[in-house]
């Protein structure tokens, strides 16, 4: 044990400058990433709060107008039903509904994922939820092009670079200087020496992660990013497993390579391959394999349909009445007819494009699962994003809840539209309420860890290779 401690001390003295600079770089970059994450979270939160405020105002204003109108009608001794005022018209209200949004999680500020590209709010209408008008937030296009620099990037991309710097020269330099046989005479054969050096580095990398975790916990709330301890602990756990992968890789390379420059070139090339080339090539190949319909096609179909409906509104209304005879009994339903006929025509014209889009997107996401097995860097990023809720699975949960809400929205308004009734004041209080249920954190963590079994296979393989070489009783690897 004392020998091990002495070796660790010697290694620490050798590495301390590198350790200091690596840690400093990681701490600074984490600070920058947290600032970016804080900006993102605030930006999304401001968007959502404004939309919610707008929704509340919309309901209040229409309810107040309706209340005043009802009062006036009562004072005039007239019935409050039927009424042609637009702000009481259920077809109008149903089609100009609120804007629903997915509430941002603080953890999403730690890794933005695809969220800046996705519409995180939708305007409710009588159309199916998949055709609701998306509401985008604005982001700086330059930053989107560069790719968000968040804590996920620091952990998945920059952290392994520090590990490489600390680990590309474990045994090779000792071998070049002829120290390995000397160690062997002191009962330190190379496998033991390698294990001792790797274990020290493993401890140091865990220490790095702990420091970064503490930094996030202390600094993030000050930057307006109230992440929880669980958000950080889960990510550190995933990153510790990730660092073990890199140390195993370093160990395997030391068993087979003899020059530190060669090991450095291979580690650098692997990083370049996994961080850049493979994901980029895979993205292009998958996008080419599963092309999505052009947005121009969607736009053209939308405009054509609107134009067709406008030009032949009377015919459309008549044909709509043929398929929806229940509306014939309504009092004054001209407006409702127009809205419903338009919605149906749009849904018929656009649904095939949207369905194709969704089908292709699903196929792309399925194909993406496989990229995790060829790029550990992408795999780690994927795990972090899944855990922090900034991936497509989390977004998918939001889209599913929109579908459920759409059904509730239609079932609330359609009977009133069919009866040709104007909405009454109490009706506004009974509007379907939307609350987003985020997938539970435990479930996300479980999914994030599900990819680790591949690394387990690699760890076992690496241990087997090192053990095999060690059993050959060679004085040098």
């Amino acid at each position: 044990m004392s020998g091990l401690l002495a070796l660790w001390r010697m290694e620490y003295l050798r590495l301390r400058t590198l350790l200091f600079w690596s840690l400093l770089a990681l701490v600074c970059l984490t600070g920058v990433a947290l600032r970016n994450g804080g900006d993102f979270y605030h930006h999304q939160l401001a968007q959502q709060q404004q939309l919610q405020q707008g929704n509340a105002q919309w309901v209040q204003q229409n309810a107040a107008k309706t209340r005043r109108r009802e009062q006036a009608l009562r004072e005039e001794g007239k019935p409050i039903q039927p009424d042609r005022k637009i702000y009481r018209n259920p077809a109008y209200l149903a089609n100009q509904g609120p804007t629903l949004s997915v509430p941002p999680l603080p953890s999403q500020g730690l890794s933005l994922g695809e969220l800046p590209q996705l519409p995180t709010a939708h305007e409710v209408s009588l159309l199916p939820a998949s055709l609701w008008k998306p509401v985008h937030n604005v982001f700086h296009p330059m930053a989107l092009w560069l790719g968000a620099f968040d804590w996920g990037v620091v952990l998945a991309y920059v952290f392994p670079l520090c590990l490489m710097v600390l680990g590309f020269d474990l045994l090779t330099d000792e071998r070049l200087r002829g120290h390995l046989p000397l160690y062997a005479t002191y009962q330190w054969p190379w496998p033991r020496l390698l294990a001792a050096k790797i274990s020290l580095r493993l401890l140091l990398s865990t220490f790095f992660l702990a420091i970064l975790g503490l930094e996030v916990l202390c600094v993030a709330p000050r930057l307006g990013l109230p992440v929880s301890g669980a958000d950080v602990a889960g990510a550190l756990l995933l990153s510790a497993a990730y660092s073990l992968f890199w140390w195993m890789l370093v160990a395997v390379l030391h068993v087979f390579m003899r020059s530190p420059a060669q090991i450095a070139v291979i580690l650098g090339s692997l990083w370049f391959l996994w961080a850049w080339l493979l994901p980029a090539i895979a993205a292009q190949a998958i996008a080419a394999q599963y092309p999505v319909p052009s947005r121009f096609t969607y736009l053209q179909r939308y405009r054509e349909t609107e134009e067709r409906v406008r030009k032949a509104q009377t015919d459309h209304n008549a044909s709509y009445l043929d398929t929806h005879p229940e509306l014939k009994s309504g009092a004054d339903n001209t407006y409702a007819l127009k809205q419903l006929a338009r919605s149906e025509a749009l849904a018929q014209a656009l649904s095939p494009i949207v369905q194709t889009y969704e089908r292709q997107l699903e196929a792309r996401l399925q194909a993406l699962q496989w990229v995790r097995f060829v790029s550990p860097i992408y795999a780690h990023q994927w795990s972090l994003q899944r855990f922090w809720g900034s991936d497509r699975a989390f977004y998918g949960a939001y889209l599913e809840q929109l579908e459920t809400f759409s059904a509730r929205w239609q079932s609330f308004f359609l009977p009133q539209i069919q009866q040709g009734k104007a909405l009454e004041t109490q009706g506004f209080a009974r509007f379907p309420a939307y609350t987003f249920q985020a997938p539970p954190m435990a479930q996300r963590l479980l999914q994030a860890f599900s990819g680790l079994w591949v690394w387990l296979v690699f760890w076992l393989l690496a241990l087997g290779l090192i053990g095999y070489r060690a059993s050959a009783h060679e004085p040098t690897p």
């Binding site: 401001a46 509401v135 937030n137 604005v138 989107l144 980029a280 947005r295 134009e307």
Partner: protein, 454 residues
């Protein structure tokens, strides 16, 4: 002397061609460059075809609206589509993130929509595989991988001392190594250069793109020369080749990947719904129809309804212009803050220059948006003027026909580089030139002193 340098150059080629990993790296990058150029050419072709098709279709819809009130037509609106220019095949820049169209309707100014990036896959923060990204990151990486040992390894092996004894001066050795690396890069990039230039001049004329093409390639040549000089310098300074590799890798990483990415926050902007709410608040303060009518004091022979319409349109345009301008100003400030560092980070200077020349940068997009907004105001004025000629009673009941829609001119997006864009590009070229001179000067100073013996 030249013969000895030539012999060293040949020796380096022969040595490296024997190493399979060198050949693999060199060929890999060559193929990647070609592949990404072909991919970008294909996406450019798809985009151009789709855009031409929808422009024709939208125009047809507009021209065949039939009987309609001109103000209703203004509400139906038009779309302006942003063109991609041929040089953007090499440097697609920001155009996938900027939106490809903007909706132009009465009373409102919209932001651009349908950014192609929404339908693309980007699996990692770094993973861009355009030719320009490979020129900026990939080619320098190959220079580093094949050049880190240029001096350090020769010194460690004792070859350097032998070469000096053979009669080569330190300067000649550096020159031969530099030429070796430069020829390696040139041969690697040559197929892409030939292919892309051949394609480019099929698509565009020399007059429209020639100078941009020339400066574009010149800047990249300069950038690679800077990397070669820095590689030679670090390799000469370092006592061990691994030390040189480590330093160069860090330079590459921070120059191209870490620093540029850490300098920008995507969300340092007002939220879009908050911006919309501010605009709405200001719109609500504008006088209503009756107030405006009473304020205008119009003579009876004038169509007061149409004049009110024009006045309110002008006020709304001013409100939108103020807020949207402020938003675009924030964009511009972000970009200006980012490129302020181009003097210290050559990758930024190169990025600014290449995107500016290919017109795939933010300023070109803003030129497009400005042109689209001017067009919106113009066509709305044109249609409102038609209403002014009618009586007040007819303002909202008058229906114009296809003849009027056909008189509205088609939108033409600006395609030429502006003087300020050229100025910015030349400033960046100046930064790169200074870097080249600086690294050349340091190398020239250092070449007299570097150690020959390990």
């Amino acid at each position: 002397m030249m013969q000895r340098m030539w012999a060293l150059w040949q020796y380096r080629w022969r040595q490296d061609l024997k190493r399979p990993w060198v050949v693999a790296v060199w060929c890999g990058m060559l193929l990647l460059l070609l592949w990404s150029t072909v991919q970008e050419t294909r996406s450019y072709g798809h985009y151009q075809r789709a855009q031409a098709e929808i422009m024709a279709q939208q125009r047809h819809l507009w021209e065949h609206q039939g009987a309609l009130n001109p103000h209703t037509a203004v509400h139906h609106g038009l779309y302006a589509f942003k063109p991609w220019l041929p040089l953007s095949v090499l440097e697609p820049g920001l155009q996938a993130y900027l939106g490809s169209t903007v909706f132009l309707e009465g009373h409102r100014q919209h932001i651009s929509a349908f950014a192609p990036a929404a339908d693309q896959l980007r699996l990692s923060a770094l993973a861009l595989l355009s030719p320009a990204a490979l020129f900026q990151q990939g080619v320098p990486l190959v220079i580093i991988l094949l050049g880190y040992g240029c001096i350090a390894q020769l010194r460690a092996q004792g070859t350097l001392a032998f070469l000096v004894a053979y009669g080569l001066s330190r300067r000649q050795i550096l020159l031969a190594e530099g030429l070796y690396l430069f020829s390696l890069v040139l041969l690697m990039v040559l197929p892409t250069f030939v292919l892309s230039s051949w394609w480019l001049f099929q698509e565009a004329s020399w007059q429209s793109t020639g100078w941009q093409w020339l400066v574009f390639w010149g800047a990249f040549g300069l950038y690679w020369a800077i990397f070669i000089q820095v590689t030679l310098l670090v390799s000469g300074v370092s006592s061990k080749s691994r030390q040189a590799l480590f330093v160069l890798f860090m330079v590459w990483l921070f120059n191209g990947l870490v620093l540029p990415r850490s300098m920008m926050s995507a969300a340092d902007l007002p939220a879009y719904s908050v911006l919309q709410a501010h605009i709405q608040q200001e719109l609500d303060t504008l006088p209503d129809w009756q107030t405006r009518l009473s304020q205008l004091h119009l003579p009876p022979e004038v169509n007061a309804e149409a004049e009110v319409l024009k006045a309110s349109e002008a006020d709304e345009t001013a409100v939108f212009a103020k807020h949207m301008q402020a938003l675009y100003e924030r964009y511009t400030q972000g970009v200006a803050g980012y490129y302020r560092w181009r003097m210290f980070v050559p990758a930024l200077a190169l990025q600014q220059l290449s995107q500016g020349l290919a017109q795939s940068d933010l300023s070109s997009h803003q030129n497009f948006l400005q042109a689209a907004e001017a067009y919106r105001q113009g066509y709305i004025l044109q249609l409102n003027a038609v209403l002014s000629e009618r009586s007040a009673e007819e303002t909202f009941s008058y229906e114009a026909g296809n003849d009027l829609w056909q008189q509205v001119p088609e939108f033409e997006a600006p395609q030429a580089l502006t003087v300020s864009q050229w100025r910015e590009a030349l400033k960046s070229l100046g930064c790169l030139g200074l870097w080249w001179l600086g690294s050349f000067g340091v190398l020239g100073f250092y070449q007299r002193r570097y150690e020959v013996l390990p």
